[in-house]
């Protein structure tokens, strides 16, 4: 199928389905939305293994800004994951969300549309526009269907990311202007800028600030350690499908941005700042894990575990080694699957008993054994048990960053303690919920029905398939990583 039709289809299907669900009758809204997500998933799937695709049309001719879409394996795998999680979320929401269902589904598809557009974007400003546009549907999703103090959480989420990315806008524009001043031509397309600035690098003092503005925006999105305080609130208060997409995809846009834009554009300053950023990631791993252990709310525990897991990803990225990068990208995908499954599972019991307190549950192994099997498998995958998807990414990241010249092996050892800490808080969660006497809330929990099997089995199958035979994903990741690394300066390779 021609590139343009495919790429435009990829962007327009969710946008149109957002409009359709807004206008469709309330009665069958769940089914319609699931079918539309299914169409998007199949549409994305049809490109499996295909070559890169390009397409661009003018956005703002006078300033050389174009809607330029570029699909390579980095963006493709994330789009596939996003459409899969989107399909599962629509399916889940079709029975879980009752009030204002139409608005819910419509906002959900709008969120999908902006995510996919953001991932396809190759023009820096086009990427920035949808990097921001994603926040608005998420803002409403958390705000309207969220938990108790959702207003605080959603305000904090939006302002935090909005502030960070505005500074990136300034960095972006100064890059765009410097290019114009040196070549007299307006363009913000990433390959042009990268090729140009690899030959004529900017003076380190200015490049440093531009790089830092990029890193600030993506660090808040990832979230990197000091900027992570919005994540637990946003995850705890978001509705189930919202927190699945938030954890599964939105966090990955931050790391995707780092790998796609920030590091390739400014390799020198990336090398200069690699060590402090690695130290921050390691802090994120350790602090995220020990704080997760102290949480009383299930979703907040999983949120802090995401901070810890994404600490691994950023460690892999900033170690600037090929193995580290491959591991980081694979960890992004597997974290999306694992944490998505965990949030669905927590949502499963939350929708029945409306309580997220860990103390409120106990002895579920006797009331809902199948749920416990799925819960234990997902938790073990998040702990990083070999044979499941969590381990492969984590191992490659640690192995890669151990080889890296930029980060001191001591920090990688500290990061590896994260392996122990993740076991501590995950087993703590499993034990408190699944084992022991059947306590208060656990009495009323009903086990898996047919639709839950349909919802969770694809995720668990993915966990095992990536865990035991990761190369069906790793090969395409490796291609793009080696391509990006080949364009990096000699010092990095």
């Amino acid at each position: 199928m021609a590139d343009s039709i495919f790429l435009l289809g990829l962007c327009l299907i969710p946008a149109l389905s957002s409009v359709i669900t807004a206008l469709a009758p309330v009665r069958g809204i769940g089914k319609i939305s699931t079918v539309l997500s299914g169409v998007l998933f199949v549409w994305a799937l049809s490109h499996w293994g295909g070559a890169d695709r390009y397409f661009s049309f003018p956005w703002f001719e006078a300033l050389g800004l174009r809607y330029s879409l570029h699909l390579d394996s980095y963006s493709y795998l994330l789009i596939l994951l996003s459409s899969l999680l989107g399909l599962l979320c629509s399916f889940y929401a079709s029975w879980a969300v009752k009030d204002k269902a139409k608005a819910y589904h419509s906002l959900f598809h709008a969120l999908q549309a902006s995510i996919i557009a953001c991932l396809l974007a190759e023009d820096l400003l086009f990427f920035y526009v949808f990097f921001e546009a994603m926040l608005i549907p998420m803002f409403f999703l958390i705000g309207i269907w969220g938990g108790k103090n959702r207003l605080y959480a959603t305000m904090k989420f939006f302002l935090y990311t909005f502030a960070g990315s505005l500074f990136m806008l300034i960095g972006l524009l100064s890059l765009y202007v410097i290019y114009y001043q040196q070549t007299g031509e307006w363009t913000a397309s990433f390959p042009v800028l990268r090729d140009y600035f690899s030959q004529f690098p900017i003076a380190f003092s200015t490049e440093k600030w531009i790089f830092l503005s990029f890193v600030l925006a993506f660090a808040i999105k990832v979230p990197l350690f000091p900027f992570h305080t919005w994540l637990p609130d946003a995850h705890t208060e978001a509705p189930t499908a919202g927190s699945v997409i938030l954890a599964g995809i939105l966090l990955k846009i931050g790391t995707y941005g780092l790998m796609r834009f920030a590091l390739p554009l400014f390799p020198e300053s990336a090398m200069a700042f690699a060590t402090p950023l690695c130290v921050l990631s390691v802090l994120g791993i350790v602090v995220g894990a020990i704080v997760a252990w102290r949480q009383v709310d299930m979703k907040r525990l999983i949120a802090y575990s995401s901070v810890s897991h994404l600490g691994f990803v950023t460690l892999g990225i900033f170690s600037m080694t090929e193995i580290g990068w491959n591991g980081a990208y694979l960890q992004m995908l597997s974290h999306g699957i694992t944490t998505g499954a965990l949030f669905f599972l927590v949502g499963f019991i939350y929708d029945q008993r409306h309580s997220r307190e860990i103390e409120a549950y106990g002895g579920l192994a006797h009331k809902a054994p199948i749920f416990v099997v799925f819960f234990v498998v997902s938790s073990l995958s998040s702990v990083g048990l070999p044979g499941l998807n969590g381990f492969v990414g984590e191992f490659l990241i640690l192995l890669g960053s151990f080889q890296s010249v930029l980060v001191d092996p001591f920090w990688v050892v500290v990061a590896t303690t994260g392996v122990i800490l993740s076991a501590i808080y995950t087993l703590h969660l499993i034990q408190k919920i699944c084992y022991g006497e059947v306590k208060r809330e656990a009495v009323g929990v009903v086990d898996f029905g047919r639709r839950e099997w349909l919802l969770y089995s694809p995720l668990v199958l993915l966990m095992f398939s990536i865990g035991l035979y990761p190369s069906w994903v790793m090969d395409s990741i490796y291609e793009t990583t080696s391509l990006i690394f080949s364009m990096m300066p000699e010092a990095v390779r």
Partner: protein, 511 residues
Amino acid sequence: MIETDLLAEFWRDSQVAFPVWSWALSAVIILSLQIVGVRRGVSVGAVGLCLLGMIVYAIWSFDPALNESLYFGSVNWDPLAQSLNGLALVISLGVYLMSLPGLFSDSKLFRLNYHQYPEFLTCLLLSGFGIAVAVSAVDLTSFFLGFEALSIGTYAMCGFFRSQIRSTEAALKYLFVGAFATVVFLWGIAMLYGATGSTGYADIAATIAVGPEPLVLLACIFITAGLAFKFALIPFHFYAPEVYDGAPTPVTAFMATAMKVAVVGAGIRLFWGVLGDLSHLWLPMWLALCVLSILVANVWALQQRSLKKLFAFSSISHAGYIGLALLVADPSGSEWPLFPVLSYITIYSLMSLGLFALVTWMENRDEVFLIEDLRAYARKNLGRSLLLAVFIAGMAGFPPFAGFVIKLMVFQALIAQGYVGVALLAVVGSIIGAIYYLRLLVSIFMSSEESGAASGWSGMLDRLYSIRLVVGLTVLVTCIGGLFPNVFADRIFGVLGRSSVNTEISRDSSE
């Protein structure tokens, strides 16, 4: 005995500058209709027709190459003047459509005050005439005349709801503080005249180029202060919140947008045309004022309880952005310096026009429109709250909407001219701005308490669909402007921006 050639020249100039004095002509027509004692509806319809006719003529007669100085050098009819005059026309039509449903409203206030509705429209047209003159003035006298016509027209319009103390008080405040500002302007003009000995911009610029006098410094200060007052930048903004809150909402819309159009036109000609060489004097002052107003206005708006006061402060911060855009409209700066300022003023005017039209539609004129009245407004009237959400997102500058594109232009121009620090401060300002906009969205869509008073109001009975027309068009502009800015940006501003506006401004390109 008047030489016939003078008369002939006057007649020829009038044909070219028809759009300028057509405002006054239509005002005269309306007044004469009133004198004849025609029914109120007919004269109101006539105003609509005149406005439409003027817009059609402006669009038809738009000629980027046209650049003539008319009326013996007092006015210069060039693309800048034509486009801003067109914008003023659109704004006046918007205000007219917004105030139209007042005729059919059954509330005592409207029935009592709408007897003088045609006179109100005459003031509107005369203010428009003031804008047209101010925008195209290249002589101190016509500049002063334009601004005064605009101000006095607006004082009268503010006080339209005679039976309501809030509207009268707003008019009173606006008149006295405005009058003082006029005195400041006059001092500026007097000193400029005193220093250079002539009133034409071209001559003044020439004398300044030869050797600037100390008196010109004082002139710069007073003129900057005067323009800053009309823009309502921070130290001079005190009248704005109360006057915007008290005045009838259509008039608030007119003040928030049309005043800025006039100031942009006059500012470009004055700052870059006349005082271009002295930019080291007035530029730092203007920069400080703009940055101050972006930051302080947004902080000031955090604690406002009245909705219209909130939008007043937001328009002050937007004035700061327009000021920054004006700042970078330096002819020697980029190849089309006017692009950011004109794109900003147009999109901003249309957006706030739509926003205030929506407010007129929702508000209940008898009591102050507080923010908590909007609590859980989306529960009952989802449509209007969605429209409000679009406008709020536009005004706050969230990306997919047009508000972001115009801010992008300003930031890009700022950084291109090296003002990176200023751009950072502007960014901090828009972050603070996002806080109170988000609070508004949160209280409309997400609050779980019982809904505020606003959901109870029936709002303006929009029988002629006039308000819905204005709101619909402006929402379209906000959305399309964001996703596909190419649609209008390239054609209108590219042309204007690229063609050198050959008033004194673009001297450099000719030298």
